[in-house]
Amino acid sequence: MSSAREMSDGELVGRVSGGDETAFREILRRYRERVLAICLRMLKNRTEAEEAAQDSFVKAYYHLESFDKSRDFSAWLAGIAINECRDRLRKRSRFRKLFREIPENDLGSRQVSQDEDYESKVRIRAIENAIEQLPEKLREVLVLRAYADYSYEEIAGILNIEIGTVMSRLHRSRAKLTEIIKRGTRQ
């Protein structure tokens, strides 16, 4: 296991293609949290996020041949996770048209520990609702930057857009969030 830990992503991918389960477990260990962070913030449902993250890894496993080793593996994986979330959100909106008011948001009722102050709880709720209100394109960029720590260059690679577009989307999403927060504090 220690040798797998020392390997680069490229080496691990090569090993996984050769059927090495230990290498795949190492990939899971390295990127589990990051992929979960993306899915959780995009889907706002822990169970579905877990499921989407698992499916992203399964898809990555079965499409390793198409992975260009000159690219960053973590960005490629994040791209798969984002696509998985998009599919699920689309499916969810179709489902919503059929069945009204199915509560799918279990982060909305997030458990807050006793010592966590009420104001902080309100702030978190407000910002999460504000993020949810953002258009999908702006939300994706914001989640990748603020929740999964990807750089502008990496985000450009993940979403297949120019760095300038990343920056402008990020700027617009921040401006919208600031606007929503300002409105909230005025009330």
């Binding site: 389960e21 795949f24 477990r25 899971l28 260990r29 589990r32 949290e33 979960l36 962070a37 959780l40 913030r41 822990r46 169970t47 579905e48 877990e50 499921e51 993250a53 698992q54 499916d55 890894f57 399964v58 496993y61 079965y62 699920r88 499916k91 489902f95 059929l98 008011e101 199915i102 509560p103 279990d106 982060l107 009722s109 997030r110 902080s120 702030r123 978190i124 407000a126 910002i127 999460e128 993020i131 603020a146 929740y147 990020l170 921040r174 969030l177 600031t178 606007e179 927060i181 300002k182 504090t185």
Partner: protein, 320 residues
């Protein structure tokens, strides 16, 4: 870019700036509503991110990794499922089928309503549970062609004639223990021979589904809810029980029916004995112990994992 825009960009890109910046910057933020709002946003995102991380830390990495590996293995052993095209056709056909079933179900419910404003339960006819409170809810499990609706529900969907006795099975083949005495798990299934058990199982599943999805607070009872299990649990590891020493010594054979709850992670969280042909010879305990150690890929409904109950017979057959 004006001063406020510059400060805002700095704050977003370097969230820890606040700790080390100069008093001037702080004074500006304090007096500028725009920068103040930006800082509040950054702090709120940081808190929300922290809360997300704490939620993620509650996910057991081992369970997560095993679920991923289980899914990889499940697809590997069924190479045809890799075909995206076929999957798409299958999904489309099953979606159309499901939609048709829902429409038929709704039409039948509406036609039963008559002029009454409230929901009227579907008449169960000879169902052993007819007239009971659970009639207000309805759950139906459906899957491949192997599944057959129990007799009590034949008014909703006609039976499939092609497989009169074929049960729903999540096993490819029977599981037999390696010991010389045969312990055989025939199939994990729901069959029409077990209507009373089926009703019990349905009732359990309804409450599970409602409680686990949080719908119990929202559910507008009485109201008809159709929950469809698209994917039944798939076996990853079914453990065959040990032949109990006492039973072997006495040369006893036995059939034990086990009911198990498979949760969202595919783990067995609850087991019960439905019936046993021989009691007090250790067969029930052996079957229960083995059932607890088994694991599955969880059942799914609309792409969301849900807990369900499954049941199966464990046949202890004394061979000498």
């Amino acid at each position: 870019m004006n001063r406020c825009e510059q400060i805002e960009k700095l704050l977003w890109d370097y969230p820890d700036l606040k700790a080390s910046d100069s008093g001037k910057l702080l004074a500006h933020i304090e007096n500028c509503p725009r920068c103040k709002a930006a800082l509040a946003g950054i702090e709120a995102i940081r808190e929300s991110r922290k809360a997300d991380r704490s939620l993620i830390s509650k996910i057991d990495p081992e369970v997560f990794d095993n679920a991923v590996l289980g899914k990889v293995r499940a697809q590997r052993s069924f190479p045809e499922s890799k075909s995206e095209g076929r999957q798409f056709i299958f999904r489309t056909v099953s979606s159309i089928g499901l939609a048709a079933a829902i429409v038929i179900f709704m039409i039948m419910s509406i036609s039963d309503l008559g002029n009454l404003p409230a929901f009227k339960p579907v008449d169960r006819g000879s169902s052993p549970d007819s007239g009971e409170a659970y009639n207000i809810l309805e759950i139906r499990l459906r899957s491949d062609d192997l599944f057959e609706a129990p007799a009590a529900y034949s008014d909703i969907e006609p039976r499939k004639k092609s497989s009169p006795k074929a049960p729903f099975s999540i096993l490819e083949k029977p599981i037999t223990s390696p010991s010389p005495d045969s312990v055989n798990i025939g199939a994990v299934y729901l069959s029409d021979e077990t209507v009373p058990m089926m009703s019990q199982q349905m009732r359990a599943s309804i409450s599970e589904v409602l409680i686990d999805t949080g719908m119990i607070q929202q559910a507008n009872i009485p109201q008809a809810i159709l929950v469809t299990v698209e994917k039944m649990p798939r076996a990853i590891n079914i453990v065959a029980p040990e032949y109990p020493a006492w039973g072997r010594k006495r040369g006893l054979s036995c059939v034990v029916w086990v009911k198990a709850r498979v949760d969202r992670n595919g783990m067995v969280t609850d087991v019960e004995i439905i019936s046993s042909s021989v009691s007090a010879a250790g067969f029930e305990d052996a079957a229960l112990d083995a059932a607890k150690k088994s694991s599955y890929l969880p059942a799914e409904s609309n792409g969301i994992r849900i807990p369900v109950w499954i049941m199966y017979p464990v046949k202890f057959i004394y061979s000498k």
